[in-house]
Symmetry: C2
Subunit: 205 residues, 2 copies
């Protein structure tokens, strides 16, 4: 004897979420069925809308909503007041938010959506580095600011991008060490990040 199929199916579906095991999935299902049917319907709608409507900016790879425009661009890439010759490289959309909250940066981003990790099948192409390489060659970019993580993967990614930029003759800086070692950018407070950006230095190995 189990739960009714609709209940079992929902519990099973919740386990696709990171950090959610069978017990949490059951607790979530019960909570929505008992006290949150309307919230459950809202979550269903938000999920469906996001899965169908969220795409990636063709310029910087950050999240962008699908539009009917010829090119799918995010709000930052579309903002004419921002400096498109200055590109901050980050590994995730959360890191874009963190840098934005520092209030210190008015350039554009390039969002890797990950870091180099050959064992997990994440190579340069998966991070869009072929696209970045082409943009570096186009001559529009004046400076790359590296703001990838300080983990082993983050370092490897930074060095790979440094090589690309050197070949294209584009100068590369890196946000100052002041960011805690081994930490993720999204856990750094805005003031620290602002300072790290101001104190950026030429990057070399």
């Amino acid at each position: 004897m189990k739960h009714p199929p609709l209940v079992e199916t929902l519990i099973e579906a919740f386990t696709c979420l990171p950090g959610v095991g069978p017990r949490s999935a059951q607790r979530m299902t019960y909570a929505l069925l008992e006290r949150g049917r309307e919230q459950g319907r809202e979550l269903a709608g938000a999920l469906q809308a996001a899965m169908d409507g969220v795409s990636h900016c063709e310029r910087c790879r950050n999240y962008a909503e699908r539009t009917n425009a010829e090119q799918n661009l995010c709000a930052i890439c579309l903002d004419p007041r921002r400096d498109s010759s200055l590109i901050c490289i980050v590994s995730s959309p959360a890191n874009v938010l963190a840098v934005e909250q520092s209030g210190e940066f008015r350039g554009h981003y390039f969002v890797l959506m990950g870091e180099l990790s050959p064992l997990d099948g994440v190579g340069p192409r998966e991070l869009g580095l072929d696209v970045l390489e082409q943009r570096l060659r186009d001559g529009e970019i004046r400076e790359l600011i590296l703001a990838t993580g300080t983990t082993v993967e983050g370092e490897a990614t930074a060095h790979y991008i440094l090589d690309l930029a050197r070949e294209a003759g584009v100068s590369v800086t890196r946000i100052a060490q002041g960011v805690p070692m081994g930490g993720d950018l999204e856990f750094v407070d805005g003031a620290t990040l602002a300072q790290a950006l101001r104190a950026r230095r030429p990057f070399a190995d």
Copy 2:
């Protein structure tokens, strides 16, 4: 600058789930957008179907799917091989599964969907105890087996139901409390061990 609205809305919607704060909600959203769009759509569908299609058995209050039948009954209440004069009282559908998995019980259930907690606005009516009282008076029930929790709320609930059953002249038993089978004594908490000692019985093979 924030995420695109569809992304923000999904992150916000995830925080309605128990144990999910803004950071987990963001991790869930990213995971589905990056590696699980199809799973995200399945979760949306499962949510919508469960929110709309899951009801409560009119007899025992356990989960049951909405049907076109005159009375909405769960699979256990509909099973003619089960003894409807023996009712096991539990506080949640998960506890029904636990008792079913013991393979020891072939009666019916009454699922409180909670325990008495006046400060949280959970009184007898919220637990369906008015319905249970009516069923006790109808004379069909021979024995109530209390399997509510052993917390303060569980005890209060058990005593409230004991009074209802006494007034209706229905006998009440309670599942034995003691040391779990197959466990080592050193992992058993003091309160359980004390109860197990108080409830000791003559030993014979």
